[in-house]
């Protein structure tokens, strides 16, 4: 079995449970998207819906739904706050997420309400590499993240 080389940019934070990435922008605004293992687990995305701007979300709650090659399901908020922007381009063309999920394929921006607490539960910095290795191993032996 060939070992997959998943890309996890070091400047991002990751929600280890739901495989979403978080990028801290100015103030408490964070950009949110799906990470490499999340996308590989789901397969190419075909459809996405996202909750509208202004929606208050809690960490772990759905911020949208998706249909991918392997399943349909919810997209989960990695942090709590208010959705401050929705990437309409990826809703119109989910192929953007398939092609550039760390860049143009960002999904929503959230005005995080408790970044200082919730960010500690995200994976980043020195915790990142061990987590990537563990998750890659898990994907190779289990092939699935539910």
């Amino acid at each position: 079995m060939s070992k997959k080389d998943y890309n996890f940019p070091a400047d991002l934070h990751y929600d280890g449970k739901n495989h979403m990435w978080v990028k801290k922008e100015n103030d408490n605004i964070v950009l949110v998207g799906i990470d490499a293992i999340g996308l590989d687990t789901l397969g190419d995305l075909a459809y996405i819906t996202l909750k509208p701007e202004g929606t208050i979300v809690k960490k772990g709650e759905p911020i949208g739904t998706l249909e991918a090659a392997k399943m349909t399901g919810d997209i989960f908020a990695p942090v709590s706050g208010k959705i401050s922007a929705v990437n309409a381009a990826c809703v119109e063309n989910p192929g953007i997420v398939n092609d550039d999920h760390y860049g143009k394929g960002w999904m929503v921006a959230i005005d995080a309400s408790d970044w200082s607490t919730e960010s500690t539960a995200l994976i980043s910095g020195e915790k990142l590499q061990p987590w990537i290795e563990a998750e890659t191993h898990r994907m190779e032996t289990q092939g699935f993240d539910a």
Binding site: A46, Y47, K70, T72, V86, N93, Q142
Partner: protein, 375 residues
């Protein structure tokens, strides 16, 4: 491990779908052990995939005239036609932290093993086909889908064609071809198959149930306890029907990514080639191949099946065509590969032009000013 086995028949579309979702949620929340539900719908209903548009997928006038119920599944994929001769399979299991499925590299393949085992026991040489079909020598016999509930529960859905009234199905489900002729019915009949046809005898839903449940017992090393919905589950199902599956805004919601269909007709030395390609964003949803060439229908069905939810990348399309032709060289000898590549590409380019046109229309099915409704 002991699972619940729930069997019911003659169910209404909204009840059937709500029951699956409630069971999945309860399993995800730890309120129920895993459940295998084997059921059939009341004649007839049409169920579209999670993000499909009922207006483009179904002949709504005919559905209304014939009092067919229509609804929307939580799982993805294409529209299906269900009644007393199609067996619905709903496997509701916990998602994470369950070692039973820990080594399942490919979930859909793993979950379909119980069905395949049951079909094999009936003498049907069924096998899993990526991404979401079970087929017999290129002909689809069952569709598959997975829904991950926010509770963490997983719903694996399948519809098994025990038997099928194809003429009726084609009246209900829209196809990209202009009219439903006897030839079209015959073509579709050759590209899908049924358990009765493969088993060469009449096979009752009750017999299928026994074989499928035995298949799951064997594959997952479990035992079943025959059960029914609890009172609490019945109440939750009734609530979910009201909140979701009986609501027009669930059934008639329109997708943000509108399908576009491109067509191409090409004269080849072996006959006319007539291609329809349905594109959703950058994904090919379906490829339909018709014409007056003489190729084995199961091989053409295999070609069509290879392009369900396929990338529209030109190189990937060529790779897939080459792969199928390598496997089925003799059966496809009357369908020239180069002509097919050309026709598929033409249909794709036309679908893309249509897609761009739709995208430029300000009030189409794409995102409208003011944001997206999340349903």
């Amino acid at each position: 491990m002991r699972w619940r086995l729930i069997c019911d028949d003659n169910v209404h579309a909204s009840f059937g779908l709500a029951a699956d979702e409630v069971l999945t949620r309860r399993v995800g929340l730890g309120k129920s052990v895993p459940v295998l539900r084997l059921y059939s719908y009341k004649n007839y209903c049409a169920l579209v995939g999670r993000f499909q548009d009922v207006h483009s997928e179904l002949n709504l006038d005919y559905c209304k005239q014939s009092a067919l119920s229509i609804n929307r599944r939580p799982t993805g994929g294409g529209a299906i036609f269900m009644g007393e001769n199609q067996l619905g399979v709903a496997m509701c299991i916990p998602g994470k932290d369950d070692d039973t499925y820990g080594r399942a590299r490919e979930l859909m393949a793993r979950f379909s093993e119980g069905i395949i085992s049951g079909l094999n026991a009936l003498g049907v040489a069924a096998q899993f086909r990526r991404k979401n079909d079970i087929e017999v020598d290129g002909r689809k016999i069952a569709g598959l889908g997975i829904f991950r509930d926010s509770s963490g529960g997983l719903l694996f859905h399948s519809s098994i064609l025990v038997d099928m009234d194809i003429a009726m199905m084609l009246k209900v489900l829209n196809t990209p071809f202009e009219k439903i002729s006897d030839k079209e019915v015959a073509t579709v009949a050759e590209r899908i198959t049924t358990v009765c046809r493969e088993g060469k005898r009449r096979i009752a839903i009750s017999e299928m149930r026994v074989k499928i449940s035995e298949g799951y017992q064997k594959v997952f090393n479990i035992s079943f306890e025959k059960d029914d919905f609890s009172l609490e589950e019945k109440e939750e199902i009734a609530d979910l029907e009201k909140e979701k599956y009986l609501r027009q805004d669930w059934v008639f919601q329109t997708p943000h990514v509108k399908d576009s269909v491109g067509m191409a007709k090409l004269k080849t030395e072996k006959g006319l080639l007539d291609i329809r390609l349905t594109l959703a964003g950058q994904q090919i949803k379906a490829l339909f191949i018709r014409g007056d060439f003489f190729a084995a229908e199961n091989a053409v069905a295999d070609l069509e099946g290879s392009f369900r939810w396929h990338s529209s990348n030109q190189q990937k399309i060529e790779d897939t065509l080459n792969k199928v032709y390598t496997l089925r060289k003799n059966e496809l000898s009357s369908l020239p590969l180069e002509a097919l590549k050309k026709a598929v590409n033409q249909a794709l380019q036309r679908a893309k032009i249509l897609e761009r046109k739709q995208a430029s229309e300000p009030y189409g099915c794409f995102v409208t000013p003011g944001g997206n409704a999340h349903v």
